[in-house]
Amino acid sequence: MTYQKYYVPEQSKFPIYAAIALFLLVMGAAGTINDLGKPESISVYILYSGFAVFAATLYFWFRTVIREHIAGLDSAQLQKSFVFGMGWFIFSEVMFFAAFFGALFYVRNFAVPWLGGDGEKGIANMLWEGFEASWPVMSTPDAGSAYALADKNMSWPGWGNALKWLPLWNTIVLLSSSVTVHFAHLALKNDNKKSFNIWLGVTVTLALIFVGLQAAEYYEAYAHYGLTLNSGIYGSTFFMLTGFHGFHVMMGGFMLAVMLSRSVFYNHFDPHSHFGFEAASWYWHFVDVVWVMLFLFVYIL
């Protein structure tokens, strides 16, 4: 048996730059949020500089990895490390979403019914007598001025209005994009780069459409429904889950766009070696699955 040497880069400046960037990002983000409404605060510039250093570091870091791959430095074993690594990263993201879905589950099944007087801990209703539990809960137990109540929620509007309901279109768009990215993958495996570029381009376009529709939905929520982060627990869970997902769509879409430009401008990827694309497409499928769960638990049920 022969062994390919496992490629271990001797030294690298990228990690320390990335760590410094994260430090700036964290100090800048926390400072900016704490100083909201104080125009003299400079924290936002720290935030921007952190973002710039981070983006630049990632650019050069990935460029180096890509060049190492093209130079043939990475053995099959190292490529397998990337595969495992990406898989476990996606698992960590699943658990990140699990925290928010868990919160939704707890609120819907325990906290809100108890506040409304139902169930074993229904005694909680004594705090705010008269609060009635329902989901989506359109009021808050404490009816004071601290909360801006919504007039309307985002749930399933019934068959009659289904076609005018944005989340349905969002679902169609995102599910199709999962299919188109799969077509792109098949095209790549068949060594049809042109078809690969087209399908990947379609996927990125669908990602953009999704983000646009989501923005339209948020606009509608804020401007017409009165549904905001400040509307109590329904607004909290709605915006947290869809917002965090939307952020992931942007990241996944960005990854796919990078892969598209690598293919179009540098002719990267061949039928046997394209893990960069594959990793981005796995991420995309993951984002899609999360949306299906969202559609089910946030919108429909």
Partner: protein, 528 residues
């Protein structure tokens, strides 16, 4: 291709480290990064320990004498956070970095550059956390468990910095764990099947899985806190339809596996050391693996035993009580196996073995008090008393931290090529052993007598044992300076170590020279 890559092609991977500071900043070497983690952890151990001594100094006598209650709360919070995230976890990651590649016969960690990033995030994260001490309103003061609404509605402004520092600590842990898992899954030498892996490697495989599963949940919890504090959401606010108890559920869904994250690698370490100094093969290898896996899986379904008094439905109280007690079974298997390994062995009592035996005995005491706390009706009495403090310090200090010290004594000849001073090592052990028991054993009694935790003052009847506890704490703290001295002395020089170091040592790391060359196993060894 760029010149950078060209130069890599000529590397023969056998030269030593580069000189100067950049060696540590730019390194991709698992041994360098392991050392960085271990030194960082020790620095945090001393800082967190100094904070503990502020607490114990204040509690030396009843009444308020040294610090303000507000500052006491900040010390309490930072002590917990620093010890958990800054001392214990990085120490285990450091050991994993040093040992896992050598134990499985790999040339390095699977993703060496990311490995360096995982480490370098930590000093910055703790810089952010510690800088909060100098901010307006002071550092976080809500305890290391940061329950809402103490950490939301009533938190100082620095909580925002705390939240983001937890985010990047989590990123560091997740990347570190991905690296460990991928190394173990993908980089084992030919013939190193899963059930031949050294137990420390097994313990870290399971630990890394737990970390990847729960660190994101912690990130989710702090993200919701951030939203509640600054953006008007109501996750942890019943007035808006949320629930402060929701915070506790999410926190402990992370927190309970986290407890095992801090003890599973210790199980691995104890197994190696007891095996070596008993000069016998470890009893029940397979059952050790299954026990660790069972503990890890059960750790996901016991979280609410931290919350028996918050008003859970009866069914939940019963479920979480029984599930918790179930953990005693695999833990009992492990203790049984350690004791049986020692049974009729030719035991010698070098410093690592002393620490390992103390680990087994004192961790078991902590386990038993854990069983007492698991009994829901009994917990109604014990909850938030010093009994709880005694319990978790028994599993963390003579549990996790003794195992880390045992590991340092056991492997430091391999790391430095020099034997440590056995007399000083034993002195350190006995001072620590006495210190830890004098500190924490009396806390069982004052806890059962009703002294609440997290309070800077107490009723007069608790005065005697508190004074004794404080004396023990200062003894324990001072003896760690001796530890620092012993380690530095060993790094500087000492009796040369052989490759095997110990008479009964088993495993690949003992087949390479001492000190281990900068690069080991660039071609994988054959494992039979």
């Amino acid at each position: 291709m760029s010149a950078v890559i060209e130069s890599h092609n000529h590397d023969d991977h056998h030269h030593g480290p580069t000189k100067g500071l950049t060696r540590w900043l730019y390194t991709t070497n698992h041994k360098d990064i392991g050392s960085l983690y271990l030194w960082f952890s020790f620095a945090m151990f001393l800082i967190g320990g100094a904070m503990a001594l502020v607490i114990r100094a204040e509690l030396f006598q009843p009444g308020m004498q040294i610090v303000e209650p507000e500052f006491y709360n900040q010390m309490l919070t930072l002590h917990g956070l620093i010890m958990v995230f800054g001392a214990v976890m990085p120490a285990f990651v450091g050991l994993a970095n040093w040992l896992v590649p050598m134990m499985v016969g790999a040339p390095d960690m699977a993703l060496p550059r990311m490995n360096n990033l995982s480490f370098w995030i930590l000093p910055f994260a703790f810089l952010v956390l510690l800088s909060s001490l100098f901010m307006e309103g002071g550092a976080p003061n809500f305890g290391w468990t940061f329950y809402a609404p103490l950490s939301t509605t009533y938190a100082p402004p620095s909580v925002t910095f705390f939240i983001f520092s937890v985010h990047i600590m989590g990123a560091s842990s997740i990347m570190g764990s991905i690296n460990v898992i991928v190394t173990i899954m993908n980089m084992r030498a030919p013939g190193m099947t899963l059930m031949k892996m050294p137990l420390f490697v097994w313990s870290w495989l399971i630990t890394a899985y737990l970390l990847i599963a729960v660190m994101p949940v912690l990130a989710g919890a702090v993200t919701m806190m951030l939203m509640d504090i600054h953006f008007g959401t109501s996750f942890f606010n019943a007035a808006g339809g949320g629930d402060p108890v929701l915070f506790q559920h999410i926190f402990w869904f992370f927190g309970h596996p986290e407890v095992y994250i801090m003890i599973l690698p210790a199980f691995g370490i104890a197994s190696h050391i007891i095996e070596t100094f008993s000069r016998k093969q470890l009893f029940g290898y397979a059952s050790m693996v299954w026990a660790m896996a069972s503990i890890a899986i059960l750790s996901f379904v016991v979280w609410a035993h931290h919350m028996f008094t918050v008003g859970l439905p009866l069914a939940a109280e019963l479920f979480f009580m029984w599930a918790t007690m179930l953990i005693a079974v695999p833990t009992g298997v492990k203790v049984f196996n350690w004791v049986t390994t020692m049974f009729k062995g030719s035991i010698t009592y070098e410093t690592p073995m002393l620490f390992a035996i103390a680990f087994v005995v004192l961790f078991t005491i902590g386990g038993f008090s854990g069983l007492m706390l698991a009994i829901t009706p009994a917990d109604f009495q014990y909850h938030d008393t010093y009994f709880v403090v005694a319990h978790f310090h028994y599993v963390l200090v003579p549990g996790s931290i003794f195992s880390i010290m045992a590991a340092v004594y056991y492997w430091i000849p391999k790391w430095t090529g020099n034997m440590y001073d056995e007399r000083l090592g034993k002195l350190h052990f006995w001072l620590s052993f006495i210190g830890v028991n004098v500190t924490f054993f009396p806390q069982h009694w004052i806890g059962l007598a009703g002294m609440p935790r997290r309070i800077p003052d107490y009723a007069l009847q608790f005065a005697d044992w508190n004074m004794i506890s404080s004396v023990g704490a200062f003894l324990f703290g001072a003896s760690q300076i001796l530890f620092l001295f012993i380690v530095l002395k060993t790094v500087m020089g000492g009796k040369k170590a052989t490759p095997e170091v110990w008479e009964g040592s088993r495993g690949l790391e003992w087949t390479v020279e001492s000190p281990a060359p900068y690069h080991t196993f660039t071609t994988p060894p054959k494992v039979n």
